[in-house]
């Protein structure tokens, strides 16, 4: 048996990149996102970039299994979770703001960050490629 969630005021500005505001109960949440963030010192984009898969997007992430040997009993003395107000600026990248109860939540985010800067005037500066492509 799940408790009732009562929120008197929710003030949020932005939900972006597959994030969800869920008001009410849910059963199963599966949130996934892959991000390839390339920052260059100058505005430059070659159209065919980023089509190659980086290891960070494919490597399996081990999960912690829920031990079935632990018998959990929850006693809700008060059937209500009460919140006066929530002020939230932003939710992003497959995140979930959830008012209400749920059962199973699974989430996975993989981020690859690459920065490219213009060559400095120093003769020492050499080109360095990403180790994993």
């Amino acid at each position: 048996m799940k408790r009732l969630s009562v929120v008197q005021l929710l003030n949020s500005k932005t939900f972006l990149l597959s994030s969800v505001l869920q008001i009410g109960d849910s059963r199963e949440i599966n949130a996934r996102s892959n991000v390839l963030a390339v920052q260059r010192q100058y505005e430059l984009f070659y159209g065919s970039e980023g089509e190659v898969t980086f290891p960070v997007f494919t490597k399996p992430i081990p999960t912690l299994d829920v031990p079935v040997s632990v018998q959990t009993y929850r006693l809700h003395e008060s059937p209500v979770i009460s919140v006066r107000s929530i002020y939230l600026i932003a939710a992003s990248t497959a995140s979930v703001v959830h008012i209400g109860s749920t059962s199973t939540v699974k989430g996975e985010t993989r981020i690859k960050h690459i920065r490219q800067l213009a060559e400095s005037t120093s003769p020492q500066a050499s080109t360095r490629m990403t180790k994993d492509g």
């Binding site: 190659v52 209500v80 006066r84 939540v105 989430g107 996975e108 490219q116 050499s126 080109t127």
Partner: protein, 60 residues
């Protein structure tokens, strides 16, 4: 093994949050199982100083 949780009265005032990101969850309520993971790859090698070479294109 038995594990008992007693949830007494919960009354929260004001919550101020800047951001919830990267498959994370802000939950007001109950849940049975939560499994969240994230991989963030920003090694020193990912900083490229030099000519703006394209990232490896498809098929090479």
């Amino acid at each position: 093994m038995n594990y008992t949780v007693v949830n007494r009265e919960v009354q929260i005032g004001d919550i101020y949050l800047t951001a919830v990101t990267s498959s994370s969850i802000f939950l007001i309520g109950d849940a049975d199982v939560i499994q969240l993971a994230s991989a963030f790859d920003t090694p020193p090698e990912s900083l490229i100083v030099g000519p703006f070479v394209p990232l490896t294109p498809k098929g090479s």
